[in-house]
Amino acid sequence: MAAEPQGSMTLEEQARVLPSGEREFFLDVHTTDLEVNFGPQHPATHGVMRILMRADGEVITGAQPHLGYLHRCAEKIGENVEWLQYLPYTDRYDYLAAMNNNLGYSMAVEALMPGLELPRRAHMIRTICAELNRIGSHLIAFGTYGLDIGAFTPFFYAFREREWMMALFEKICGARLTYSYIRIGGVFNDAPPGWLEEVGRFCDVFEEKWKEYVDLLVMNQIFVKRTADVGVIPKEMALDFGLTGPMLRGSGVDFDLRRDMPYSLYGEMLKDNAFDVIVGKGEKGTLGDCWDRTYCRVYEMMESIKIVRWCLERIEPGPVLGDIPKVLRIPPGEAYVGIENPRGELGHYVASDGGKVATRVRVRGPSFTNVSVLEDLLPGALIADAIAIIGSTDVVIGETDR
């Protein structure tokens, strides 16, 4: 068929430049990009995220994340309930790391109470719980990432260990997912007898099992082929988007709030060199690819084990709750405290006018910031890569929407 230019366009104008730099000519074929509605009900969105994608065959040409399907007005509720009553709501934004959320909110409120002195044992138990929860959260991230890539079995292995972690939390606070255990002034109650010893046993077993994860998935050749050089976030881009946590460290930026702005007992740990910050090195491909982010998460679990062991060695009997009145009235003022959540910096800004209720509670969620990178990251990737990229952001929709 003769190659007739369509309309007034010349042949050269019709050429489309592909991501590889090649030019593609459409002589007598009209193709349009397919608009694909990815989510909110899709197995790989980790909740109810919706991404409107434009795709040219298998290649994505545009992506627009839509949020808000899980919006529950958490921040507004914070202005309407008493200080302590808001604690259970913090459980629900990043429901995979509820202990860390409790910790962040409690620390923000405690920052407004200058006279409050926390018992050392409370700090210890808080750190143990927060780090165990980080392990649990990373286990989910790692397991579901395997599911996204198509490997089913690592998910169950991860859940096997997570189950024990949840049983530990059930023993200490009675809940398995939404703990409300770390609270303003310390923790709710002391660890039951034998609990700390069981945590020690968990650490020993986990160390063995962790090697399985690395062999089975992280170093698996197909997994490496699927994730290396995919979804590369260069250093500058990571900083521009304000990414935090493993997303940032995967891009080679050495930043961890636990080390760089130490809170609770982390400053003391640093003096002992108790833990390292894992930073992506671009081992299997380009620096900042999906593999580097997974590497950061998986190796961070071992660092958390080190921290838990450090605490177990030094913990001593004592009270676990500071001097907190029955009805909390927080002195006027405002405070922002950011802590290192498994997903990045979880910041709480609270303001008080001296009453029983906060005048403002604002949450800076890491997932919300991390998900913003998708719009720039997805175009040019294949559909299968899109799943790998979305999975590697490890987004928890409960937190992006709050």
Partner: protein
């Protein structure tokens, strides 16, 4: 061997005189179809149960444990009844005719392919001289069903699945066919029963696998290609549930969906049978040899032992496929394509070349 059918032969023996021959042929056909459908359904039910058990034990679970009592043996049966009872749903905007036809075509194709499969040395539905050719041709027809289902569903995810299936099957038919040329060169027949009979020496261990050094790499290539051909992980891109929801069967539910399931497991079994016959000696094993020597090749005992041997080998192949599915991550579509065209096809051609040279140098190896 004639092209006759065992059921026809049996019916001719027991039928009273005067019955017209077309009645006999028709009844033989119906009996054959009934047995084939029943057999495949039972096999698939067993394979589904096995898959759930295998995956369960790989993943530190038990798998089904309740239905039927002993290790959940009736789980597939219960699932089948549930699927039968579900609402017959055709989505709005779907091409209803094609939507209904697609699973039927897949089923017809896979049953047609299975007709060329012998169950025991003297028990077969169709004793075709071009048996392997018929199996490959018929089982490729299932692709048409997949593409049809994807197109008719009026869903973008289903369309993606269908396009992937079409691309993948075209890429992997080639290495599949070429890698089968290697054992064919050694054995010299396309008839499955005949191929098996030619591997009977050495106490039933004269398998193609041991006759030519190029058969082993060819068997690995065949296994890889058959994984892609049957849409099994790590090549399950047409349905890849984390990417395409459920691929070409996204919009299917109830009994139609279960037809796809049936087809997948039947295809797995069929490919394993082909692999067992053309690489692993088919009916032949030391047990078959002993049964033949002690009871004679016309005895029922020999037929049972031979059939059981083939079934065991095929189930081993099915188990391997399951093992791989629950161990490996999925590959990407461009990796699938480049693997098929850039690696498997040239390697299969090399195997054919090597095996041909070997056969030319040592021609006496084949019976």
């Amino acid at each position: 061997m004639d092209g006759g059918n065992i059921f026809l032969t049996l019916l001719q023996k027991i039928a009273p005189a005067g019955v017209p021959s077309w009645v006999l042929v028709l009844s033989a056909c119906l009996v054959g179809i009934g047995i084939l459908v029943g057999l495949v359904s039972v096999l698939v039910m067993f394979a589904v149960w096995l898959e759930r058990k295998v995956s369960g034990h790989i993943q530190c679970r038990f798998g089904p444990m309740y239905a039927g009592g002993w290790h959940g043996w009736a789980q597939s049966l219960a699932d089948g009844i549930k699927l039968l009872a579900k609402e017959d749903l055709i989505p709005l905007g779907a091409d209803a005719a094609l939507f209904v036809l697609a699973p039927a075509i897949m089923l017809a194709a896979i049953f047609g392919a299975m007709a060329a499969m012998p169950l025991a040395p003297s028990v077969y539905f169709a004793n075709l001289n071009l048996g392997l050719f018929a199996i490959l041709a018929m089982s490729s027809m299932t692709t048409i069903g997949v593409v049809m289902a994807g197109w008719a569903s009026n869903s973008k995810w289903a369309l993606y699945g269908a396009m992937r299936e079409a691309a993948q099957v075209v890429a992997y038919e080639i290495p599949l066919g070429i890698s089968l040329l290697v054992p064919l060169m050694v054995i010299g027949t396309l008839n499955l029963g005949e191929a098996s009979a030619r591997q009977a020496g050495w106490f039933g261990m004269h398998w193609v696998l041991f006759q030519n050094p190029f058969v082993l790499p060819a068997s690995i290539l065949f296994f890889t290609a058959s994984l892609a051909e049957t849409k099994r992980a790590p090549f399950d891109l047409p349905e890849s549930e984390s990417e395409l929801v459920a691929g070409f069967m996204t919009e299917y539910s109830g009994i139609r969906w279960s037809f796809f399931f049936l087809e997948e497991y039947a295809a797995m079994f069929l490919m394993s049978v082909v692999g067992a016959v053309f690489f692993l000696g088919g009916f032949e094993s030391p047990f078959t040899h002993i049964a033949r020597e002690s009871f004679g090749s016309d005895s029922v005992a020999y037929q049972v032992v031979a059939g059981g041997t083939l079934m065991t080998k095929a189930m081993f192949g099915v188990f391997l496929m399951m093992w791989i599915r629950w161990t490996l991550p999925r590959v990407r579509i461009d990796q699938v394509m480049s693997m098929g065209y850039k690696y498997l096809t040239p390697l299969a051609l090399l195997c054919v070349l090597g095996a041909g040279i070997w056969e030319a140098i040592f021609p006496g190896a084949t019976p």
